[in-house]
Amino acid sequence: MTFTIALAGNPNCGKTTLFNALTGSSQRVGNWPGVTIDKKVGKIKGADAELVDLPGIYSLSPYSPEEIVSRDFIVNEKPDAIINIVDATNLERNMYLTMQIIDMGIPMVLAMNMMDEVERRGDHIDIEFISKSLGVPVIPISAAKKENIDKLVETVVDVAQNRKCPPDVIYDDSVEATVQAAKKALEGKVPAENLRFYAFKLVDGDPLVNEQFPGVRDSIKEEIDALEKEHDDLADSIIADCRYTRIVEIVHQAITKAPVDERGSLSDRIDRIVTHKIVGIPIFIAVIAVVYFLALYDGPLMTSPGAYATGWLNDWFDQLGQDVGQWCTDNGVSEITSGILVNGIMAGVGAVLGFLPQMAIMFTCLIILEEVGYMARVAFVMDRIFRYFNLSGKSFIPLLVGTGCGVPGVMSSRTIESESDRRITAMTVTFMPCSAKLPIISAIAGALAGNMWVAVYAYFMGMVLVILSGIVLKKFQKLSGNPAPFIMELPPYHVPKVYGVLKGIFDRCWSFVKKAFTVVLLASVIVWFLCHFDFTLTYLDSDTQMGDSILATLGRCLAYVFVPLGWGDSWELAASTFTGLMAKENIVATLGIVLVGDSEAAISSVSEALANLLGNNAAVLSFFSFNIFCAPCVAAIGAIHRELGDWKSTGLAVLYQCTVSYLIAIIVYAVYGSFLGVDIAWYSYVLAVISVVVLVYVLIAKDPFRQKGGVKS
């Protein structure tokens, strides 16, 4: 029979390393149902058992999705055994989770990790004593050095086979009396083996348990009151207290400490510099600059390796496209087939895949910073600024990455601990103009004959929108999820594991490649089809016939929406906005085709055509504002979907982005238009005023989305 084993432990205790050591390469990564937390499953080497990696948690409380997922898995799926990994250098806090897992009444083994580090410090831990005190087998291991892993596997199989459940940990009499009453009240309502866990949670006042069994806590109110009176404290605090007291009793007897280094550990010394009052922020800026110059920068100073490699790969894809096109012509492949292959699939997928080298470098930097422990310090140093926008200090990194490409930008939001910060960051990253938007920035700059300011406007406005969105989205809890308190461990610095870093880079790049070949490929084919066929499904063989295509018709319908924005009279602009969904550089390419008659048209001629078509700068700026801030390309939407977890939230996020860009565009049109003396229709003015009112209202009002119960802050 195949056993199911769960792996549980705190964040930063080496859980991922142990998971990799136990399962080798037999891993499947998926999502836990309903949340965007990776669920990893693998087969344990040398045993007939499957290992499920629970998210890193400090407790089995009901406040974070990680904790809820772990609880539900243990209660509902009933694993045959649990491996609880603890960091031996930080036993007190790590064992708090252990005490709660023991209450679950499931066979378990304690894997005491980082024993090599304990020995290096000259400390000694009496493993035997801890094992006896808890009644649970304790195996000292080093996951990084793969020490004692076989013994761990052997022991976990043994406890699973013989159903060796840990004995209850008995706390002081008054607590036990109350828990006893709770057990009685819950008897028959919950699985017998989890009874003690539920009893503790009931006394704790756990909202999920209260919801599941309404009124039960009231029935033992007398006992709880007596407990609280005796300890002069609240029940939840008394329970946390008695757990920690017991842990301290055990740990202090089991550990013999070597004298500590007077100067503090190396980690402390590094930390003193990195989070220093004066140099802390300059160091942060320097680190960011290094990342930027390695992966993103491309300008007069230099070309970063990332930008160089991406440029090279893009050229290679272009060349490949041309060669394949040539080959098709030479070998008499039909024009439709070669068009769909070269201009549809290869152009679309190539445009996205071209970013791969840049992403690989980007992720190498970010994963190393994360593994070293620096990212936690970034949150510490930057929190003061970002909290005002309801973002994490760590949000800075995704936003910066987003100026290169929105896809890795959205993906790098995953390192943010708080669910709410993570979701808001993922939804707002694409407001930062990515490098695919550079052609349209130059085209508009040309059309406005005011070069520099267009770029400044784009980046500045992007930042403003990110900041304002943080404030607005926080109020929209359906989208942003529950806010988490900022109470965060600052783990000691350590040298990253090469295997872990490489695996991290590979996993993220692979998910990017998969996106290119699924979502992007499909979108590319659809857009190509819309551009080259009319409604009778006749193939339009030349670019100049695009006016008859399905896309043009769609553009004509869509254009009405943009009439108040001052650029709804021409289907070309609406159609180019639509093709921008595939990849943002398409906007200028489409304008080149439909306005100038050449997809490779110089940007300056596109600028000129655009300025002539619209006739006034206010409309040009309004067109620009909408296009640069509206829904991102499908690849980025795919990335947002992965971070938000479901299509409904993703749809709402995209709708939010489009609405915001629409409101901004109409305000820009009305204000700038009046300033220039452009003849603006009355309804544009009305809509502009409404837009301002709406924006101010959602910014100021406490609960603008009328959610039940309001917003908890």
Partner: protein
């Protein structure tokens, strides 16, 4: 009444009581800040908030607003159960 927020950098204190509710309160307790535990305030972030503390032998950061929920009693002498850290001293510049 003193709260953790009032403790200067380098100072230590013993926790008396926790206030607050919901996720914040729960999380404070889960991270090991419970009645009777000794805390040392190590440093404050460059912009004045949040603070970094040592509790139960590891480093934790929390905002001053949340530190206000933790009622403490200033310790006169250095914390006795400091596990593997020598940070009761005033932090040096480097």
């Amino acid at each position: 009444m003193h709260t953790l927020k009032d403790i200067p950098i380098g100072g230590s204190a013993r926790v008396k009581k926790l206030y607050g509710e919901g996720a914040v309160r729960r999380h404070i307790m889960d991270m090991g800040i419970t009645k009777g535990v000794d805390i040392q305030v190590r440093k404050v972030a460059p912009l004045g908030d949040p603070i970094e503390i040592t509790v139960r032998g590891y480093q934790l950061t929390l905002r001053k607003a949340d530190a206000e929920l933790i009622e403490v009693e200033r310790s006169v002498q250095e914390a006795p159960n400091d596990i593997h850290d020598s940070t009761c001293r005033k932090p040096q510049l480097w």
